[in-house]
Amino acid sequence: MHYLQTDIAKGVKGIFIENDRFNTTYISVNFFLPVLRAEQSKRVVLPYILTSCSQKYKTYTELNRALADLYSADIYASTQRIGNCVCIKIALSTINDRFALNGQSSVKQSVDLLMSLIFNPKVENASFFEENLNTEKRKTEEQILSEMNDKRAYSADRLLSEMFKNSEHGVGRYGSLEDVKKIDGKNLFDAYEELLRSAFVTVNVIGEKLPDGLFERISDCFSGIKRENITDVKVLSPLKATDSINYVTERQNVLQGKLGMGFSLDTKAFSQSEALIFADIFGGGPYSKLFSNVREKMSLCYYCNASVNYGLGYLTVNSGVEAINAEKAQNEIINQLTAIKNGDFGDFEISSSKKAITDNCKSHYDNQSLLDRWYTSRVIYDGFLSPNEYAQTFEEITKENIINIAKTERPNTVYKLLPQEEK
């Protein structure tokens, strides 16, 4: 597998991961901007409106017909958090020309379509059309409501909002219903212009060959834009340790409760690999402390997972518990964390974790969207490691490294979603 990184324009990087095992070519364009509460909802709606129509494809029906004619080419839109930033992603996956029937060039036509969506949106007088916008606003509002139906995702999001309630990062994944309502064609177009002007941009291409002239075309598209105040993706603002714990309990008509626990973690003194292995041994694979004790031995919950955010310096534990077991599960999670700090784990857990994560890194090469996610998220770190290079960094991690990083945890928030109390 070969790899090429090139500067396409000011603050715009092109990354080509040559890989001939796939039947498809995958292209993603990623715009990084700092997280801002007031902007979040607009940034959620923006990639969806851009991928619903364009000057060329006036309606989503026309667009979807064109995608179906390109052998079910897929367009993906998302807004995710990476480090201190939101990353607005617009991606395309299309079958390679050798599979197209009647000599059709599916890749070239798909690239034309992607360019049309990103750089020639359907706008008039510097404003998106209300009819298109209203549909996307409604869908985003319903997405916010829908997340409340998924109690597992909802409680995980609520835990983070509580942990970061005093910072920009406390904004919900989709912003808020109120902020969505405030979006209009004009202010959304302003957000689009800001995106083109100041976002740090990466263009990832994963496939057997780089589509002819792709990077040059993107360079041309940016040449008419005054690029300034470009986002510095490497600035990180970790969660600060607090003196007191924030306890939050919410009640809804649910059968199963959810318990979320958040901790600050001083990741600065440690590598990302160390933080990852620590979280995995604590609450990742089936060999982890939380799985083998809290779930398997004590049967306290159906799921109980830990994850770490290295850039923002925190550790979270999310679990599904019966209300009567919530207190017990909470204590046991703390006990297991203490066990890690006391070195109560051995070679089995360390080598299992290293092997599992190494295997996972290698399997990235077989999946275009995983490779895309990998290279999208690596831009916030120094050294642009490939999955294989990253896997090599696990070799030197010792038990002491894991104990030391665990010792930096400070409890921050305990969030519970419990059934209504019986009257």
Binding site: R21, F22, S146, E322
Partner: protein, 419 residues
């Protein structure tokens, strides 16, 4: 042993073998890939609640036992299979659906060590009264988690409205009460019936050599006499039970699932025709999808599926909507219209190209291929028959397929917001 190499229209080759004991082995080599994905499964799922080996003495077992058995099979006398996979670094998992239970792993290294673990633990059950009791707690939690999920509940409610006798209407995991009836003896009884190689399959895709894999499997499958499994005929009537079912839950946005109950479709061509018809009726380039979206009746969660096994077939439209009854009416209107007028020829060609593209995409990853091989093994379709059927599909086939959707034989399930 019967063995053949089957060529796919997309260039892949599948080794298809049936061992003397009846075990099916399907392997697709993808030498450029780093990893491999392997499934060891049995044609046994949540709907197999009543069965016999002689056609006379039928045994009924508690609902949810296939799923319970899946959980328990990971354990052995000297530890669990997860611990063994931990030593190799593979990702391992299992799932139970209506008609199958599958154990799987994916790995980038130590493929044969992992395959050895997979073949070994699935063939060595170990249940005791204590371990069964402990699992009842964990699965009870899993059931409650799903009971809080409106999307899950709206789906099972529509099945309850569509099916009178067929156990497809029962939650795959059973209920807290039904799993309380499970004991080690019942688990062994189900295991000895359904985990016979003649009812099982191994499906693998990835960086492997198919002949080598086949010979490895042959050496590790325990010799056994094939077993006769007769599943109870639940005498499911054609008609639905109810046309509407509504439940209130703590949900922020109402959910709906609208289903048409069909006579069981067994022919692969008819199945492909129904899938293409569904795309034409409600896919994202259809006039129906546009009108439903423009009127604010659906969002991106809207989806249509052909729901089938060898003993049931339904077409399901599921999503979120504040106005589920209007969505139902619009779907009925479109179905009625297509049944009379047929589909536009150009639109049909687009949908066919799109379905072909989906096949190409599925063959671009080892997981996708393994899942497809599993589908072949369970449904009895020979590899790639579906791709060939799609190639030969005509607009007339699809026009006939849409006539199978009977508006009078449908049910709407809604989860409303609790006041």
């Amino acid at each position: 042993m019967q063995k053949q190499i089957i060529q796919s229209p997309l260039g892949d080759k599948c080794l298809y073998a049936v061992l003397d004991n009846g075990l099916k082995v399907l392997v697709v080599e993808k030498e450029k890939f780093s990893s491999a994905y392997a499934v060891f499964g049995t044609h046994y799922g949540s709907i197999d609640t009543s069965f016999s080996s002689d056609g006379e003495n039928f045994v009924s077992v508690p609902e949810g036992i296939a799923h319970f058995l899946e959980h328990k099979l990971f354990e052995s006398e000297d530890g669990d299979a997860f611990t063994r996979f931990s030593k190799t670094g593979a990702y391992a998992n299992a799932y139970t659906s209506f008609d199958r239970t599958c154990y799987l792993f994916s790995c980038s290294t130590a493929f044969y060590d992992n395959l050895d673990i997979l073949l070994d633990f699935v063939q060595h059950p170990y249940f005791t009264a204590e371990t069964v009791k402990k699992e009842q707690g964990i699965i009870g939690q899993e059931i409650k988690m799903y009971d809080d999920n409106p999307e899950w509940c709206v789906f099972f409610n529509v099945l309850k409205a569509l099916y009178k006798n067929h156990p497809v209407k029962i939650d795959i995991a059973g209920t807290v009460e039904s799993i309380a009836e499970i004991d080690d003896k019942l688990l062994y009884s189900c295991y000895n019936t359904f985990y016979n190689p003649s009812n099982m399959f191994v499906c693998i895709a990835g960086n492997v050599k198919s002949e080598e894999v086949l010979s490895f499997i042959e050496k590790r499958i325990k010799p056994s006499e094939s077993i006769n499994i007769i599943r109870t005929d639940f005498k499911e009537p054609y008609e639905t039970v109810n046309s509407e079912i509504t439940e209130k839950m703590d949900c922020a946005i109402p959910q709906f699932c609208y289903g048409y109950k069909l006579n069981t479709v067994k022919d692969v061509k008819q199945r492909i025709a129904l899938n293409v018809a569904l795309d034409l009726i409600s896919g994202d380039f259809s006039p129906l999808y546009k009108s439903l979206t423009d009127e604010g009746l659906i969002n991106d969660s809207f989806d249509a599926d052909l729901f089938y096994s060898e003993s049931y077939t339904a077409v399901l439209f599921q999503g979120e909507s504040v106005y589920p009854k209007k969505v139902k009416a619009e779907i009925d209107r479109a179905v009625r219209e297509y049944a009379v007028k047929g589909f536009d020829k150009d639109m049909f060609e687009t949908a066919k190209k799109s379905a072909y593209g989906d096949n190409v995409k599925q063959f671009g990853n080892v997981k996708g291929i393994s899942l497809l091989l599993t589908e072949y093994a369970v449904s009895g379709i020979m590899p790639f028959e579906d791709i060939k059927a799609l190639k030969e599909l005509t607009v007339e086939d699809v026009n006939e397929a849409v006539k199978l959707l009977d508006i009078k034989n449908s049910a709407l399930s809604v989860i409303e917001k609790e006041e």
